[in-house]
């Protein structure tokens, strides 16, 4: 068989480039197609929006849960009891030494009197007999940690400090919190991935219907010499528009509704008021400037993937 000569004339080797001259044609084709299939367009925007609102909700929930857990972790920390015969200067030195241990965020000294008051408050009884010199409680430091998962290493390091009598660090609580934190992050990611894939399937099917109804049109376009990219662009723009609109609608709605939702959850009449009061919540400004571009890009990406995959087999003419 003879090989192809090298003098082939290929007018354009950048057929995929979006040419400005053609952009108007692509946009008009996209608009016409969206309008012609308006019910399908609206239903796919709504379906993508429904998926996206769940993505946004799971992101906001994960983000807030992480914040709660961080907050709880900072309150767990550990209590370092000091030797009884330690002088005030000795206690200060121990405090300064604890502060330089890795993973220690902050310390606070607790006097025996304060410890007794805490005990009284916790147990709800008056222990007057133990006040003053009779107080059996020791001086201690409440230690907050940066990373609760590294608690055991920190305990080991602090226990070596001269003047430390004992350490109370509930490994169970810290382990549970770290575990919950990890589970929440993984579950959040899985939910976001599943919903993302679901959106791709929905957009693919919607565009497939449009592509199928225009199969003959694509064949004719191929016969008169249209490049694959010339045919593809209007469908891709269509997919991107559906994806971005499907992302924007829930994003705008959630942006405005988020603060009210937090207020109604934590307000006096909120159903979770008792449970959630005192816990920190992320603000709109903390969540949305970060999540908005991700959601919009996700929508656009889903649109491109959906349209590209639904077109592939029709272009082989």
């Amino acid at each position: 068989m003879k090989t192809t000569p090298n003098n082939r004339k290929v007018k354009s080797n950048k057929a995929s480039t979006l040419k400005l001259r053609n952009l108007r044609y692509y946009l008009s084709q996209t608009t016409k197609s969206l309008w012609r299939n308006k019910f399908m367009t609206i239903s796919s925007i709504i379906t993508v929006a429904a998926c996206m609102i769940m993505v946004i909700a799971s992101f906001a929930a994960t983000s807030n849960l992480n914040l709660f857990l961080d907050h709880l972790e900072s309150t767990v920390g550990m209590t370092v009891f000091l030797d009884e015969d330690l002088s005030e200067a000795g206690r200060d030195i121990v405090g300064q030494t604890i502060m330089v241990v890795e993973n220690v965020r902050d310390i606070r000294i607790i006097t025996p009197e304060e410890a007794l008051e805490n005990m009284e408050r916790q147990w709800g009884m008056n222990i007057e007999a133990l006040q003053g010199d009779a107080n059996p409680l020791r001086w201690s430091y409440m230690v907050e940690l940066y990373d609760l998962s590294l608690q055991s290493q920190t305990v080991d390091a602090v226990s070596l400090i001269f003047g430390v009598h004992s350490i109370d660090a509930s490994a169970d609580i810290s382990d549970t919190l770290v575990f919950i934190n990890n589970v929440v992050a993984i579950v959040g990611l899985i939910i976001i991935a599943v919903l993302g894939i679901l959106s791709i399937v929905i957009i693919t099917n919607t565009i497939k219907l449009t592509v199928n109804s225009r199969r003959n049109e694509i064949v004719i376009m191929k016969y008169v010499g249209a490049t694959d990219w010339f045919i593809r662009w209007p469908f891709i723009i269509e997919g991107v528009l559906v994806g971005v609109l499907g992302a924007l609608i829930p994003l705008v709605a959630a942006w405005f509704a988020y603060d009210n939702l937090v207020a109604s959850l934590t307000g006096d009449t909120g159903i979770f008021a008792a449970m959630l009061r005192g816990l920190p919540f992320r603000t709109t400004a903390e969540i949305f400037p970060f999540v908005a571009p991700i959601i919009i890009l996700l929508g656009a990406g889903i649109g491109v993937l959906g349209s590209a995959s639904s077109m592939r087999k029709h272009l082989n003419v």
Binding site: K2, T3, N7, R8, A15, V219, V224
Partner: protein
């Protein structure tokens, strides 16, 4: 202009589309390809359009070997060849004007060129007054005129026609035939696969007869059939 050398096309199911076909069609020629259904006429048009790969052989258009053209090159090849089908293949959602303009849009023609050429070619096929009509508002003959206008609007050197009169009544078929003759007289090479023996006999053009994928007769100014070849 068109040179086919020892072309054979065997389909996946083993059927033979064309077998060992060797042909040369010169610039400005008008050639009929005749033969019964399954004789290989349409396969010949399809391999010229590079709708399918050849199993063996070579095809040259204007001296250029198109046998192994890839996906990126085929669209540009097709812009050099106007094509007309029996079933018109117009875009149903576009008007007559848009159907013709569309063939120019894909070649990156400017809107000025489109505004100049489309009315000109519509006037040539006699559809200037129907430019705003949609295909379903046209008669069969008018739809085929529109398809012809679309095929020639980019001024291609070659026009391929696959049974262009197959769906038309005799009078309308003659109108289309006359249009094709006029297009040919302006220098366009016309290759027309057809069953219409009366048109072939009357036109006195080159006739390439096919049977079972082979070229069985190739005569200048021939008729649909002769004593050596019968349908």
């Amino acid at each position: 202009m068109i040179k086919i050398i020892n072309a054979t096309k065997i389909y996946d199911n083993g059927a033979r589309g064309v077998q060992d076909v060797t042909l040369t069609i010169d610039k400005g020629e008008f050639a009929f390809i005749v033969g019964s259904s399954g004789s290989g006429k349409s396969t010949l048009i399809k391999i010229l359009l590079r709708e399918m790969d050849l199993t063996e052989g070579e095809i040259y258009i204007n001296g250029e070997d198109i046998t192994y053209y890839g996906k990126k090159e085929i669209p540009f090849l097709r812009r050099k060849m106007g094509v007309v089908f029996q079933d018109f293949r117009l875009l149903p959602t576009k008007t007559v004007y848009e159907n013709v303009a569309f063939a120019m849009q894909i070649t990156d023609a400017s809107s000025r060129e489109i505004r100049r050429n489309v009315p000109m070619v519509l006037s040539m096929v006699g559809l200037q007054k129907k430019s705003k009509a949609y295909p379903d508002q046209l008669s069969g003959g008018e739809q085929q005129r529109c398809a012809l206008a679309r095929a020639i609007v980019n001024n291609p050197p070659i026009l391929l026609c696959d049974e262009p009169t197959g769906n038309l009544d005799p009078d309308t078929a003659w109108d289309i035939m006359n249009l094709l003759d006029e297009i040919n007289s302006r220098g366009t090479t016309v290759v027309m696969a057809t069953h219409a023996w009366d048109l072939v006999d009357a036109m006195k053009k080159r006739v390439i007869a096919m049977k079972n994928g082979f070229v069985v007769r190739d005569v200048e100014k021939g008729g649909y059939s002769n004593e050596n070849y019968s349908e």
